[in-house]
């Protein structure tokens, strides 16, 4: 049976949202941001989720997930702007039970 998780996402205007996200739809953070319209359409997930544009860059604000990036993500973030130590690409963070309670901030537009 599916279970939702709660994640906290601060949008680009500084507003913090509490989001209930499903774990059974194979979604990722980038898609949740788009689904809940937390950023202007066309400014997040531009490449469709292939770790090729960094438009879904987020800063991880607590230790619910690891800051370890996969190789594609690492390569993309090397070329992106506004990158910090806690930067991750939203499209590379799947919505699973493990991320319940995750706090994120959406990075500025590239």
């Amino acid at each position: 049976m599916s279970q939702d998780v709660i994640i906290y996402i601060t949008d680009r205007t500084g507003v913090k949202h509490e989001i209930q996200a499903p774990t059974d739809m194979n979604m990722n953070i980038m898609e949740v941001i788009r689904a809940y319209e937390l950023a202007e359409e066309g400014t997040v997930g531009v490449c469709g989720g292939m770790a090729m544009c960094a438009s879904c860059q987020c800063y991880v604000l607590n230790d619910v997930i690891s800051l370890e990036r996969n190789p594609d993500e690492e390569a993309m973030l090397w070329e992106a702007y506004h990158v910090k130590e806690n930067s991750r690409l939203g499209c590379q963070i799947p919505i699973t039970q493990e991320i319940d309670g995750l706090e994120l901030e959406i990075a500025p537009e590239q």
């Binding site: 190789p71 090397w78 070329e79």
Partner: protein, 350 residues
């Protein structure tokens, strides 16, 4: 002045397929694209990635789909204005349009179909103070014409497929190819990485990693760049600097054409023909928005088809037409070719 029936802006899959559907209605198309090659994001962003939701193809590589579309529309002889962006549009009194590109190329069309996808792909420029001064004076963000680099010294910067592929290709054209990347690891197709490795061993590509270009020098043209490697700077003489750091899409000049824009996309009438608020200008594929819109290639194909029917009626008011099936009518190319199903044989079976 280029004359055409439908001027298509954007050579992605939707724009390319529109040429086919227009051709069936005897309408001629011309396509403008900012990139030097057709295919849009399929060719530029993910040519080697498989797509699984094209009807009839359990799996097709994005690059292959573009090749197939080009093959499919060849018979309708589309014109192309590549590596130029549509800048201005003027509607004439007779309802036709003149679209002018950033390079001044003028196109006269009876209808305009914007199939611009995510927008114009603009190069991500390295943050170098004087880089704009050297644009087209030794700094190139695309390789439009490889011959430009014949027997020249070039420095390519970047760590993805295009940096790797152009380094490989230009190693047979330029007198000296240097590939610079901020990291030791490259992100590209394995065969490209291996090929660069091999060319490095043969001395045909000079590989400098991890390093970054931090300055450009030259009087009226690039003469040298400054490389920084672990805090140490070195001046490196070169004729060209080609940063290939990927592309970001921008709606660009089209945003100022007086079209209704919502959520970075162009509003269209989806109940009818994907026409915008300006009569005669259509928007198809990922660039448009309407209730229930899905940004899928297959939806773009559908939208292109309906747009062509609408343009036919616009150009030929009152001229009756009934949708035909290619299996029945075949396809007559503008190049004189004809494709048709083999005739059934009537023969008695004894």
């Amino acid at each position: 002045m280029i004359e055409t029936d439908i001027l298509i802006i954007g050579a992605g899959p939707t724009g390319l397929f529109a040429v086919f559907e227009a051709g069936l209605l005897q309408l001629k198309c011309h396509i403008i694209d900012a990139l030097p090659q057709p295919g849009g994001q399929l060719a530029e962003l993910y040519p080697k990635k498989p797509i699984f939701d094209i009807p009839g193809y359990p799996s097709v590589l994005a690059g292959e789909l573009v090749d197939n579309l080009m093959e499919q529309i060849k018979q309708f002889q589309p014109g192309f204005t590549l590596a130029e962006t549509a800048e201005t549009i003027d509607k004439l009194e007779d309802g036709t349009f003149i679209v002018t590109t950033n390079k001044g190329t003028k196109h006269h069309a009876k209808a305009v179909a914007i199939a611009g996808g995510l927008g114009t792909f603009e190069p991500r420029k390295p943050a170098l103070e004087n880089i704009s001064f050297y644009e087209e004076k030794g700094v190139e963000y695309f390789v439009k014409d490889p011959e430009l680099f014949r027997d020249k010294r070039i420095v390519i910067a970047g760590g993805g497929d295009s940096a790797l592929d152009w380094s490989i290709f230009l190693s047979n054209v330029a007198s000296e190819v240097t590939l610079v990347h901020r990291r030791n690891e490259f992100r590209g197709a394995l065969d490209s990485v291996e090929k660069v490795q091999e060319l490095k061993k043969l001395g045909k590509i000079n590989l400098i990693t991890p390093a970054e270009v931090v300055a450009i020098h030259g009087k009226n043209h690039v003469e040298s760049i400054v490389l920084e490697n672990e805090g140490i700077q070195q001046v490196f003489e070169t004729d060209y600097f080609i940063p290939l750091f990927g592309l970001t899409p921008k709606l660009g000049a089209i945003a100022n054409w007086g079209l209704e824009i919502e959520k970075n996309a162009i509003k269209v009438n989806n109940a009818l023909d994907y026409q915008t608020n300006i009569d005669g200008i259509y928007a198809i594929g990922d660039v448009n928005i309407y209730p229930g819109k899905l940004k899928l290639i297959l939806c773009g194909f559908h939208e292109a088809t309906l747009m062509c029917q609408s343009v036919y009626n616009r150009i030929n008011p009152g001229k009756k037409y009934v949708l035909k099936y290619t299996t029945v009518s075949g396809v007559d190319g503008f190049d004189g070719t004809r494709k048709e199903a083999e005739k059934a044989v009537v023969k008695a079976i004894e």
